[in-house]
């Protein structure tokens, strides 16, 4: 049995690079250091798998040769006048580069999954910039961590342990002990409450849950964790300080904080369900931090206000820098969505939603973004790479997508593959193929090949390259 060290996890934007895979006879038997999400991928990736290219004939998907599937795809793309090329954030930077070439060749619109996760953040960053750093800096130095509208416990399970509150940094220690003693304290007070309510019948059925832990705030030099969200997530359970905002109220709260930080009086009792005193406490905490960090998630980008919410958060960070050091970073979801944005930008000048129909790249989210071209029913064919828009897009968009000729390159058999006209199975990048991925803080990391792919499953990059060549042949034939 071989043990492969320093495997980079191809699941979420944390791109943990300390995994150890145990491989026996070209099979992964175990993986160490991974979280539940990472382990689920390494141990189950080969289930529910289709390893044969499929083409739809008379309404049915039937097995075909790779050459046939590439030929059919190239025909679809070459004959389309405005195809959509979508996905990209779960494949390697090398494959994305070929995808961009292909989009230019066919004069289509190319978009990555940023469009339905941190697209609004990108818009905001283009307006006001982004003071950021690498995650290592935060691990060693940050003494105030704020997760705003993000729930790493569920979406980036090792983020807290590797980079923030539970990480043992050089200058900042983990908050394990404090968290444990708070758990003990809370369960004791619940028990006391239960006894009390037995003796004095008629009280409310559950103890008044302590929403704000300000009374338990740690000594000022210790690292602190604050969570702001619309519901009490598991990440919030870990926090020293949890603030519940009404759904859609983030913008108001952020702007109120900006005012408080400038020492302005607010003439209201609460903002979006948060009492002013709580906000004042938070403002104090922020101003008095030596190195503060805000991680924001889809709670800001997907709710009312979208890019404006993010803009307010970045402006808050900017304001805080008048008093102390404060930085901010989006919690990127897919392992290579940051890479997708990066490759798009270095090739075209724009991070996502790039339209090549004029022969040069054009970018206008809201017009050239996948959701919008599909809602308006503008596209006449689509290529989906390593993504599942049929599961993840609103129904109206999917209705328009499934009507059109649809090509899917994916290692999974997804809902999108099921309604496609051509399905080309590929090797899992990071497991069966090498490649480059960008961590959420823009650090590039090498994905490893730890087992051989099933026969006939090529990496996305190779499949795309073959497709691009065939498209060029067809186009060349047409123009000559």
């Amino acid at each position: 049995m071989d043990v492969i060290l320093s495997v980079v996890c191809p699941v979420c934007g944390c791109c943990c690079d300390d995994l150890e895979a145990l491989v026996d006879n070209n099979r992964i038997v175990d993986v160490r250091n991974a979280c539940a999400l990472g382990a689920a991928k390494f141990l189950n990736y080969s289930r529910h798998r289709n390893t044969k290219p499929l083409i739809r004939k008379n309404g049915r998907l039937v097995e075909a040769s790779l050459e046939e599937a590439i030929e059919r795809s190239a025909e679809i793309l070459a004959n389309a006048s405005y195809p959509l090329l979508y996905g990209w954030s779960s494949t390697s930077c090398e494959a994305i580069r070929v995808g961009l070439e292909l989009a230019e060749e066919v004069g289509g619109v190319i978009d990555n999954t940023s469009t339905i996760c941190h697209g609004p953040s990108v818009i905001a960053i283009q307006e006001v910039g982004l003071p950021a750093c690498t995650l290592g800096q935060i691990r060693h130095r940050a003494d105030l961590i704020v997760y705003w509208g993000s729930n790493p416990w569920s979406a980036h399970p090792r983020h807290i342990e590797r980079y923030t509150a539970l990480a043992e940094g050089r200058f900042q220690k983990a908050i394990w002990k404090r968290y444990l003693s708070r758990l003990v304290f809370e369960s004791a007070s619940k028990r006391r409450y239960r006894v009390a309510s037995l003796m004095f019948k008629g009280g409310s059925a559950s103890p008044p849950a302590p929403e704000v832990f300000s009374q338990l705030l740690p000594p000022s030099e210790e690292r602190k964790l604050v969570v702001v969200d619309v519901q009490r997530t598991r990440t919030a359970d870990l926090a020293d300080f949890f603030i519940r905002v009404e759904p859609g109220g983030d913008y108001d709260v952020l702007q109120a904080l900006r005012a408080l930080i400038r020492d302005e009086e607010l003439d209201v009792d609460e903002v979006a369900g948060v009492p002013i005193e709580t906000l004042e406490e938070l403002a104090d905490l922020m101003v008095n931090a030596r190195f503060g960090m805000i991680f924001f998630g889809l709670g800001l980008t997907m709710s009312v206000g979208r890019s404006r919410n993010v803009e307010a958060a970045i402006k808050l960070t900017r304001d805080l820098n008048r008093y102390t050091k404060f930085l901010i970073m989006p919690m990127r979801g897919h392992f290579n969505v940051t890479g997708a944005d990066t490759v798009f930008t270095w090739q075209t000048g724009y991070p996502y939603a790039v339209d090549f129909s004029h022969g040069y790249p054009r970018y206008n989210p809201g017009e050239t973004s996948a959701i919008d071209v599909l809602t308006k029913d503008d596209v006449d064919a689509a290529l989906v790479v390593a993504s599942d828009p049929v599961s993840n897009f609103p129904r109206k968009c999917v209705e328009n997508l499934v009507k059109k000729p649809l090509i899917v390159i994916d290692s999974h058999m997804s809902a999108t593959a099921l309604v496609a006209d051509v399905v080309i199975p590929s090797a899992f990048v990071g497991i069966e193929a090498e490649g480059t991925t960008y961590r959420m803080d823009h650090v590039p990391l090498p994905l490893k090949k730890i087992v051989e792919p099933p026969e006939g499953c090529l990496p996305d990059e190779e499949i795309l390259r073959m497709m691009l060549e065939r498209v060029r042949d067809i186009k060349g034939r047409e123009s000559s």
Binding site: A40, H48, D388, P394, R395, C397, E399, M413
Partner: protein, 140 residues
């Protein structure tokens, strides 16, 4: 009663996804709607009961799940996935991003069954492209 629907990631949705989108694991973790216990009592919904979630776009049937994390009455939560997206709105208001958190929704108990992914696709998008399950055993 009108609810505010929030969609989001959960760790079980993430794990289910890696088991495959057609797996039982994915179905039981994603075709659900988390609710505040008080709201459930008011609407006479028991944990694990089938409910119909309706927005201006359409409706979908999922299992109700009691959540002690949703403290504010009137808020419901569904994990990202095809079931939640059967009721989300596509308008992006010029940002490219549909409104996936904070939609208005209605909830009612129902006797109808929760559709598995394949049936959900057929119901939603017609069966022209989707082959019936018995013919399509290629990858299962």
């Amino acid at each position: 009663m009108e609810f505010t629907l929030i969609t989001g990631r959960t760790i079980n949705q993430g794990r289910g996804k890696e088991h495959g989108k057609f797996s039982e694991e994915y179905l039981v973790n994603v075709a659900v709607c988390e609710m505040n216990p008080e709201d459930m009592r008011r609407l006479n919904i028991k944990d694990g009961m089938n409910i119909r979630v309706t927005t201006e776009v359409g409706s979908v049937i999922v299992k109700a799940r009691k959540s002690r994390r949703i403290k504010t009455p009137g808020v419901i939560f569904m994990p990202y996935g095809p079931w939640a997206n059967a009721v989300t709105k596509p308008e992006s208001e010029g940002t490219g991003m549909p409104l996936l958190k904070g939609l208005k929704a209605n909830v009612e108990p129902t006797k109808d069954e929760v559709s598995n992914l394949k049936d959900l696709l057929i119901e939603a998008y017609g069966s022209s492209k989707i082959v019936k399950s018995e013919e399509q055993k290629l990858w299962m």
